[in-house]
C-alpha cells in the first residue's frame, strides 16, 4: 500500500521514470530531421529552442523550430509539458518579443503532416506531432 502511494505521488510530480514518455505517447512526439544526431534531448533544451533563447544543437547545427497552430491538441500538450506554460502565456511572450523588436516566433503549420514534411526537409529542424502520426523520414526524439 505504501509503495502504491509513493508511486502515485511520484507520478503526480512527473518524476517517475517514464512519466514524461507516457505523457508524450498520449499527446505528442518530438521529431527532428533525419540527419540530426540527437536521439534524446533535455526538456530545457527544447524549451530554449522553441523560445529561441538557444539557437544551436550541441553539434553546432542551427536549430529550426516549427510550431503548430494554437488550437492544435499537440501544441497544447507540448506547451504545457515542455514549455511549462499555456499556449496563451507563450503568445504573450511572443507579443513582447515581436513588438520590442527582439525576435519573431517559429513558423506555424496547419497539420501534423505539414510538420513532418517541414522537419524532414530542413536541416536542424525540430517539431512535434500527435503521438499517432507517422513520422515518415523524421526521427523521433525522447524528451529527457
Amino acid at each position: 500500500m505504501l509503495a502504491l502511494g509513493a508511486l502515485a505521488w511520484l507520478t503526480a510530480l512527473g518524476s517517475f521514470p517514464g512519466a514524461s514518455a507516457v505523457a508524450g505517447e498520449t499527446e505528442f512526439r518530438v521529431i527532428v530531421d533525419p540527419d540530426n544526431s540527437t536521439t534524446s534531448a533535455p526538456r530545457e533544451l527544447l524549451a530554449e529552442a522553441f523560445l529561441k533563447t538557444s539557437t544551436r544543437w550541441p553539434d553546432g547545427e542551427l536549430i529550426r523550430p516549427v510550431d503548430q497552430r494554437p488550437e492544435s491538441t499537440a501544441r497544447k500538450g507540448f506547451s504545457q509539458s515542455v514549455l511549462k506554460r499555456s499556449v496563451g502565456a507563450i503568445r504573450s511572450y511572443w507579443q513582447q518579443r515581436i513588438f520590442s523588436g527582439r525576435d519573431v516566433p517559429p513558423p506555424e503549420l496547419d497539420s501534423d503532416d505539414a510538420i513532418v514534411r517541414y522537419v524532414s526537409e530542413h536541416r536542424g529542424a525540430v517539431g512535434y506531432v500527435s503521438a499517432s502520426t507517422r513520422s515518415g523520414r523524421t526521427k523521433v526524439v525522447t524528451v529527457k
Binding site: 507579443q95 513588438f99 519573431v104
Partner: protein
C-alpha cells in the same frame, strides 16, 4: 491598435480625466525580415494620443539591423528599445501584459520619449552557466533624438549627448525565476532662455553680468538603476522591482537656475494569473517618492493600488477594465490641474481605465 477611456474621481491624471477622456489611444505596425538565420532587420511605426502628449504624430519607434553571431554574442544597430527593468521594452504593448498601465513609479508613460529607445548600438547575448542557469546581458550606447516642438518656450534647445547602460538578468536554475539589474546613464543638455524681465531685474541689482544675453547652457545628468525579480510558473506571474533615479541640474549661473541633486525612489509588487483562456486578473501596488530626502507631504509621494481584469474576447481582440486607488499627488502635474500646486490637490483619488485592443 488600442482605444481607451480614462476617468478620475479627483485630479486630472495623464489627460483631462476628471471629466473622462478618450485621449488614450495608440496604433503600432511593425515589420521584421530575416535575410539569413543570423541577420534580421525590423522597424515599427507608432502613433499615440495621451492627453496633451502624442496627438497622433506618427513616429518611427524603432528600426534596426541585427546580426547574431552566436547565442552569447549579437549586435544590433539603429534605433533600439532600451532594456531597462523587466518591462520597459513592452511598455506600449497592451496585448503583452495584463495591466493597462504598468506601475507608473518605474515605467512612467509620460516619459516614454526619454525612456523608450535610443539611436546607437547594442551588444547582447545569453551565456549558459552549467547547472546554474544562464546569464542574459545587454549593453548599449547612443543618443536620443527628442521632439522639442512641445517644449516650454524658454527651452531653446534640448539634446541628449549620450545615453549608455545595460541590463544583466540571471535566469536561475529554478525555471521561471529570473533576477536582474539595469543601469542607465543619460545626460540632457538644455539651452534655457530666461524671461527678459527677469534678466533685466537681475542685471540691475548686479546679480547677473550686464553682458548676459542668454541662453543659459544647463546640463542634466541622470542615473537610473533598477533591481528586478520575476517568477513565472504556468499562468501565474509574480514580479517586483525597486528603482532609484538620481537627477542633477548643473547650471553655470546659480541666480538664474540653481544646481539641484535629487534622488527619487520607486518600486512595485505585481501579480497576475490566467484563470481561464479568456480571463486574466491582475493586481499591483506601486509607490513613488519624488525625493528620498523629503518624504512628507502629499505631493512628495504617490501610492497606487491597482486591480485589472483582462478579457481575451478572441485570439486577436481583448478588453481590459482597471481600477486604481491613489494616495498622494506626487505623480500629478500642475499644468493639467489649472496650475494648482500639487500639494493642494486631493490626496485620495480613484482612477478608472477601460481599454480595448485589436492585435494581429
Amino acid at each position: 491598435m488600442s482605444q481607451g477611456f480614462i476617468k478620475t474621481t479627483e485630479n486630472n491624471y495623464l489627460a483631462d480625466s476628471k471629466r473622462g477622456s478618450f485621449e488614450f489611444a495608440e496604433v503600432g505596425v511593425n515589420f521584421t525580415k530575416s535575410f539569413t538565420d543570423q541577420l534580421r532587420v525590423g522597424l515599427q511605426l507608432f502613433t499615440r494620443d495621451l492627453g496633451p502628449i502624442g496627438n497622433y504624430t506618427p513616429q518611427l519607434d524603432w528600426f534596426y539591423l541585427d546580426y547574431r553571431f552566436w547565442d552569447w554574442l549579437g549586435i544590433r544597430a539603429g534605433r533600439t528599445k532600451l532594456p531597462f527593468g523587466l518591462y520597459n521594452e513592452t511598455n506600449d504593448i497592451d496585448s503583452a501584459r495584463v495591466p493597462i498601465l504598468l506601475p507608473q513609479s518605474v515605467y512612467p508613460i509620460t516619459s516614454r520619449d526619454y525612456l523608450l529607445a535610443q539611436t546607437g548600438a547594442e551588444l547582447y547575448g545569453r551565456v549558459p552557466l552549467e547547472g546554474a542557469g544562464s546569464l542574459e546581458y545587454r549593453a548599449y550606447g547612443g543618443t536620443i533624438y527628442l521632439d522639442t516642438t512641445a517644449s516650454a518656450s524658454t527651452i531653446a534647445r534640448l539634446t541628449v549627448p549620450y545615453v549608455v547602460g545595460g541590463r544583466l538578468i540571471w535566469q536561475t536554475p529554478l525555471e521561471g525565476l529570473q533576477v536582474g539589474g539595469s543601469v542607465q546613464a543619460i545626460r540632457l543638455d538644455l539651452d534655457y532662455q530666461p524671461p527678459a524681465a527677469l534678466v533685466t531685474k537681475l542685471q540691475m541689482d548686479g546679480s547677473l553680468p550686464a553682458d548676459f544675453r542668454g541662453p543659459l547652457k544647463i546640463e542634466a545628468p541622470v542615473l537610473l538603476t533598477v533591481g528586478s525579480v520575476e517568477y513565472q510558473t504556468g499562468d501565474l506571474l509574480l514580479a517586483a522591482e525597486y528603482s532609484r533615479w538620481r537627477a542633477k541640474l548643473e547650471s553655470p549661473i546659480q541666480v538664474l537656475v540653481a544646481d539641484t541633486d535629487t534622488v527619487s525612489e520607486r518600486g512595485y509588487l505585481m501579480t497576475s494569473y490566467r484563470t481561464a483562456p479568456w480571463l486574466s486578473p491582475g493586481l499591483y501596488y506601486s509607490v513613488f517618492f519624488k525625493d528620498v530626502d523629503h518624504r512628507s507631504g502629499r505631493d512628495a509621494y504617490q501610492h497606487d493600488v491597482a486591480a485589472t481584469l483582462r478579457f481575451d474576447l478572441t485570439d486577436h481582440w481583448l478588453l481590459k477594465l482597471e481600477g486604481h486607488y491613489m494616495h498622494g499627488t506626487g505623480a500629478l502635474a500642475s499644468a493639467q490641474n489649472d496650475n494648482q500646486p500639487t500639494k493642494t490637490l486631493a490626496a485620495d483619488w480613484g482612477l478608472l481605465l477601460l481599454k480595448t485592443t485589436a492585435y494581429f
